[in-house]
Amino acid sequence: MTENSMPPADHLANPPQPALRLHRELTRVWSNAPGIRGVFTAVNHSTIGLRFMCTALIFFGIGGLLAMLIRTQLATRKGAFLDTEIYNQIFTMHGSIMMFLFAIPMLEGLAMYLLPKMLGTRDMAFPRLSAFGYWCYLFGGLILIGALLMGVAPRDGWFMYTPLSGSTYSPGINADVWLLGVTFVEISALAAAVEITVTILRMRAPGMKLTQMPLFAWYILGAAVMMLAGFPPLILGSVLLEIERAFGWPFFDPERGGDPLLWQHLFWLFGHPEVYIIFLPAAGILSTVIPVLSRTRILGYGAIVASILGLVFLSFGLWVHHMFAVGIPHMALAFFSAASLLVAVPTAVQVFAWIGTMWKGRPQLKLPMLYILGFFFTFVMGGLTGVMLAIVPFNWQAHDTAFVTAHLHYVLIGGFVFPMMAGLAYWLPMISGRRRIKGLGELAFWTILVGFHGTFFIMHLTGLVGMPRRIDVYPDHPEWEMLNLVSSVFSFVMTFGFALFALDCILQAWLGKHARRDPWKAPTLDWAMALPPPAYNFASLPRPDMTGSEYAGGAEVALTLARGEGVLPGAPRGHREVLVTGIGHASPQHVAILPANTALPIQFAASIGVFVLMMLFGLYYVALAALLPVLWFAWRWARALVPAGSVPPVEIAPGLQLPTHYDSAATLTGSGLACFLFANGTFFASLIFGLAFITLVSPGPAPPPLEGQAAVSAMLIAGGLLAAALASLVPGRALKEVSEAGSPLRLIAFGLAANLAALAALAGLAIWQLGDPRVHAQTAVRAALLGYVALQLFITAIFAAFALDQARRGELAAGHLGALRHWNLWQGYTLAIGAISAAVIWAQVLSQ
């Protein structure tokens, strides 16, 4: 079978089998372990997706509770309810929780739960990674909440501006809790982004072309790609600030050549795309639900895909609109103002495509539609105030006032929470398998809508008459008191509404009547299964004739698939098998055998948690030692993927055999690694941006001269590069040798040695040539660059050691390439960033 040929649909059909027998066979293979063991070992996407969503909703409750405390404090002008220290912790945590512990995990959970069902497959590409991400999220979130309960929560605002968040003005561990806790949580965002991208590109049912897949998948793909590019700058900023706080490297300290604005650039380089990362999945829900509840197809599929791509691209070009008042040059202001306005165009295209869809069809005022109307009403206003804020002069007045608080709640609650609730109302019958109780949902909707607008509409005015955000008392401003009291009263109405919503969900799951299959008569594959969905989703995977058009076949295909008449029926070999397909046309390529239930994800995440805690408590040597278990679990993670022996090809339909992923070239793991390297490259690019910014833009004292001699530096740089270049030849040659002449043990050993030699040259450079990183920001950022290259070399060395171990065990043979290909990829990346870094550092040596 060639890589890109698509067999005709009838060739992919299997003979019917008893549905019940298939169900039992698949359930045995795919379901979670029973009882408490299942809690710790589950990797199934429905389970993990639901855990993400439930945990996110609990954090939403906690964040909401904090908002109530804020509103109580502000209800009167001399509020004595909270003291300022606690108030600062509370508003910082409210923002941080809602962004990092609610919105992002919520959309990750929804994507994980729905994507495999919509795309016609049985799980996400990397089930263990889903579970690992969940545990990182939970542990990181618990660190933040624990700090809140102990009164040492972060208190510098959710965007943590330096120098306020530096060690001089924020002593204690409050800021470290934010930097370490949020970074820990962001591991889950990166993990989710990688596997979502790979799942959408490589695991669609055969024949579901990229250009015909459900719009929801396009939206999630856009969000995932943005997460790959958007989170690295935030993670870099957090790492740098934590290093500054822990070890005194002055990246952001103006007295030692650092620059507080570097933090703002890195933060908003993440922070603005973040808004669209949150909005895109919500818009994906709207594009899915609106046509179904209007009994028609979406208007302008192509235009919507184009707007998604436009948003992904444009949203990285307007982060500076959060920084209009920092003293940016005039021309740059005009550019970023125009870019910020332009981003409204793709948003407008979608809004009008949705309304056009409703004109085309016959909209039904069911509960999800109510939330959709709430979305339109709220989000249009939030979008318009956003456009106003993009106008620089107006921004100078409104920035950092309650007007901005109002705007961002209109956008986030209008653009994320309302669509998400429409989605929950729409998919709850699937999740719980039950029908909803009439009336309660509508009551909750109206209470939330009235409460929301009562709270935030008036807040625009509060801001325009001068009330800044983040103050706790305003004793000399009686004119703000009535406005604030109105907001506070309605905010309690809104809370009551959310409580009703929670009650509605719980009652539905508990008391509701069993739902019929496909209650909305939806055309997508997610409803082509029993409710609630079985652990394996599809007894056999959808054929091209069920996915070939803009939308998949819908519920009528459910029975056909349950009888095993689709592709790859059942689990006769006792493995969790899924079909891997090509990116563009989804032609079948090979069968991937996914890992089954395992406790490795929680162990791995816990080992990282120990490291984070040691860093938090300032036990840096212990933290270093705590990295050993992390390495051990990472090693076991990869070892668990090595097959026990050769695995025969799988017959996915009569007469059609496909190899397993062990014998295939373009594996899911390879695609995942490429995605991760893309994120890694963004991290590196952000670091180079930081170095350029500190060197070229920042005012402040000149850096001290380099300590070492240029000739020695040159030798070390050249030696390190040569070693890395030699090492980079090894995996490719080893791949060839494996297929020709068996185990290349010595060659691989040489590759490992060359990487270690490059690492040694780097260490020499850092120790003898580049000076104390604590002296000046330029020295510090250079040391950070060296540290980054060293980390990549170290990881490459681990790849080499892993391959060496495989060669020693005799696991490498023709067709069984083990870790060689992935080593090759990482080695190439390391050489590229090593060469760029060498050029940058050499340029600095020359310029002194």
Partner: protein, 228 residues
């Protein structure tokens, strides 16, 4: 329900607005050319945003009913691209036009505002080349442009006198310039507008605009400032 909300807003907003607009930190009660231009911008934006919201809500309301034939081009290109681009371009032109007027162009009198946690130090040129330093009030002559050179000693603060102009950040290691002008003599409230730690709520100051004839003779030395 929505119409009820809107009616509520229509009645209550002007009521509140009338009460609250004329306030010491109100951007809607401008007392200088910058703040006035921006306030105008706001009222125009408000009218436009109100009209657009009504337009979209009307389109939405009309969608409930029998299915009809729709032109994809008209909705995505016509309304989505061209209609929104037209509005956005108009806003950009208005914004740039107002922005140009706010920029410091010709030279003007210079004063300094140095922020620290949680107080201000203002420096003015005194009579005969002396320098007058004050701690609570920034003194300027009314009716003429003044450039405020803004710096910070510790963390990021922001210098904001809403009735006179927009805000400008005080960033350690950098100096920013804000052009300020008061139309007539008077006392104008100002405050820090960037969260700066535990004393943020009270990090305030005043701008006192003097009759140009009395300036700088009327600027009191720091010791003579009346206590809060």
């Amino acid at each position: 329900m929505m119409s009820i909300l809107k009616r509520m807003a229509a009645v209550s907003v002007p009521l509140f607005a009338a009460q609250a607009c004329a306030a010491p930190l109100s951007t809607l009660d401008p007392a200088g050319p910058s703040a006035e231009a921006i306030a105008w911008l706001w009222w125009v934006f408000l009218a436009g945003a109100g009209g657009l919201t009504l337009f979209v809500m009307a389109l939405l309301a009309l969608s409930f009913g029998a299915p009809r034939a729709v032109s994809e081009r008209r909705w995505t290109w016509g309304l989505g691209v061209w209609f929104s681009l037209a509005i956005l371009s108009a806003m950009l032109v208005a914004g740039v036009a107002v922005g140009e007027r706010l920029l410091p162009r010709d030279t003007a009198l210079e004063v300094r505002a140095h922020a620290q946690q949680w107080s201000w130090t203002f420096t003015h040129p005194g009579p005969d080349g002396t320098v007058i330093e004050t701690g609570r009030d920034l003194h300027i002559p009314a009716g003429q442009p003044v450039d405020v050179r803004i710096t910070s000693a510790d963390v990021i603060h922001s210098f904001w006198v809403p009735r006179l102009a927009g805000k400008m950040d005080a960033i350690p290691g950098r100096e920013n310039v804000l052009r300020l002008q008061a139309a007539s003599p008077g006392i104008y409230e100002g405050r820090c507008a960037e969260f700066c730690g535990i004393g943020y709520a009270t990090h305030r100051f005043r701008v006192i605009a003097h009759d140009p004839a009395d300036w700088p003779a009327s600027v009191p030395a720091q010791a003579e400032e009346a206590p809060e």
